[in-house]
Amino acid sequence: MPKRLISLPKQALRAILTNKGRSFLTVLGIVIGIASVIALVSLGNGVQASITKRISTLGSSNVTVIPGGGFGPGYRTQQGGQGSSGQGDRGSDGGGMEHPGSGGPVGGGVSSLTFDDLKSLQTGKHPQIKAVTGGVTGSVILKKDGQDRRYSVSGTSASYFSINNLTTEKGSLFKEADENAKSRSVVLGNDMASDLYGSKNPVGRTIAIGNEAFEVTGVLKKVEESGFSNPNAQSFIPNTTASDTFGSKNLSSITVQAKSDKDVDAVKADVKKVILANHKITDAKLADFSVTSARDMLSIMDQVTGILTSFLAGIAAISLVVGGIGIMNIMLVSVTERTREIGLRKAVGARTFDIVSQFLVEAVILTLLGGLIGMALGAFIARTAANMIGFSAVITANAVLLAVGVSSAVGLVFGLYPAVKASRLNPIDALRYE
């Protein structure tokens, strides 16, 4: 390699060190740009990872059937009741949520899902289905520290606990027999138990739900909250009992667990077919329920957080461009300041190419330096912020490559103009410059 190339980094470093203050300010712009890109991308990735983890606690092989054409119960103004059976008590539920402090039973939203649907999925005709549970939701107002608090009550099948990996800390869960017997047993979530009873053992005590007394048979072990429900702050009763207590003949949701992840799509199709037949709907587009899997949710959330991350990275990229313009400014000032140096170099034999490469290498070294410092700073900021918020930032190789790539590109692009400007100077004009 010719000496003029070998000496480039040395020359550039000398020029950078000769003007330490100016170099520092130049690098600072890039440091801020790269640090914000790295920090925001890492935080975004961290949020994505944490959401993914929460959704996967729902059970990746679970398929959920909810009433209505879309997400959420109670929005069936057009399709409500179509082809569904057993909707006679629609007027009594839904409104129950509007009576705070009544302490009375509260029905779930209007639902098209029935116990028949649940039963037809349970019959064992579906080899890919491992377990099925149907829920009736309601709530109860109980006293905590002398104040009324509303707790949610889930009427579930006994299989609910196994599908959601819930086990007891004290006492026992209710069984299928309790379902059939419509027994008045309640299993408390961990937080709810400690809210109501503190350190005392709640097992064997009774609480009032609706107008009935329920015996606490067990307390669940504390679990991590999933994205959509928090079993720690709920109580669970058999869904048959709940149907009576809340006066709701229908289910607010049915959860079907597939034998394995790869059966999920088949189970989804199967479940849809069975319930459509039950509801005597021939056109699938008019279904009064919807079937989603945890994986569907996952991909939707992935999309949302992905867009969010790109959006944040885009904003951060603006600061990178600003940093790049800073580099260009400083390099232009530097070219002007060093006009005589350029003239001298040309007088002793430097070619146009030598001058271009000298200034370009200087700009690239400055931005790479800024990129490296920015990367460290960005990682530090992401870690600290993530620790404070309570999840972990994910610093990917992609983000690092992006930062290094972008910073050297910024150096090249924004360094090019000053470098070319410097190299075009006529040697004598450069030498005469004052």
């Binding site: 000496k3 003029r4 000496s7 020359q11 000398r14 000769t18 005589r340 140096e341 003239g343 001298l344 170099r345 040309k346 007088a347 002793v348 034999g349 430097a350 070619r351 146009t352 030598d354 006529n426 040697p427 004598i428 030498l431």
Partner: protein
């Protein structure tokens, strides 16, 4: 001796506001190999422009310049840079050295841009010749004016050029230092280099073999130092 530098009716015109200013209004100059020539003239006379054209730092508007027998108008920019690097050594009045850079690195500057045998050894030898061995690592801003010019002369010599061009090299120096510098140029000339020296001081010009006088972009007289002094007295 062969002609090292030959200018034939060289003109340099600056155009500003539709008006032409002649920095050089057609000059004919011949400088032979190993000659020591001083170019004298008042400021604005065009002497620096002439030297810049001779040193390939500037291009004439018209006329022919033969450097060592070659028409430089037919030489590309890259080749011109190479000639400046290999064949010509410059000493300027000011801004000769890179700021905050050591004596040794300043000397080595031309060796970045072209080949020379044993650059570092050669640089050290030259530094010894100019008597600055003890300041080899000093930065340029820690040197006196005379030391800076000596370093500049040493740098002009590092590529072992055929021609040395100096533009007012003693302009900022006291008499004693000026004479020392001129002694250095004489010695270089005796070793075979062609020297073109620009000055407005007669005392300095007298170190040369021959003086070319220029005024308003034209050669007034070109002759030996003795004859020139006579002409000056009769003015």
């Amino acid at each position: 001796m062969a002609n090292m530098i030959e200018l034939k009716d060289v003109k340099k015109v600056y155009r500003s506001g539709g008006e032409d200013t002649f920095a050089l209004a057609g000059v004919d100059v011949v400088i032979k190999e190993a000659e020591f020539v001083a170019i004298m003239g008042p400021s604005g006379s065009g002497k620096s422009t002439m030297m810049h054209i001779m040193g390939l730092l500037d291009t004439p508007t018209s006329g022919t310049y033969l450097l060592d027998g070659t028409d430089v108008s037919k030489i590309g920019k890259r080749r011109q840079a190479y000639i400046r690097n290999q064949e010509i050594g410059f000493v300027f009045q000011q801004f000769n050295l890179l700021a905050r850079t050591s004596v040794l690195d300043n000397l080595l500057l031309p060796t970045i841009y072209g080949p020379v045998k044993n650059p570092v050894e050669r640089a050290k030898q030259l530094i010894e010749t100019i008597g600055l061995t003890d300041k080899i690592k000093n930065k340029s801003n820690q040197l006196s004016g005379g030391q800076i010019q000596r370093v500049a002369i040493a740098r002009a010599l590092i590529m072992d050029p055929k021609i040395i061009m100096a533009d007012e090299p003693t302009g900022n120096l006291d008499t004693k230092t000026s004479h020392e510098i001129m002694g250095l140029f004489r010695k270089i000339n005796e070793e075979g280099a062609t020297i073109v020296l620009i000055t407005h001081e007669r005392e300095i010009a007298e170190f040369a073999d021959r003086i070319i006088r220029i005024r308003d972009g034209q050669i007034v007289v070109t002759d030996t130092g003795e004859r020139d002094r006579h002409a000056e007295e009769t003015h």
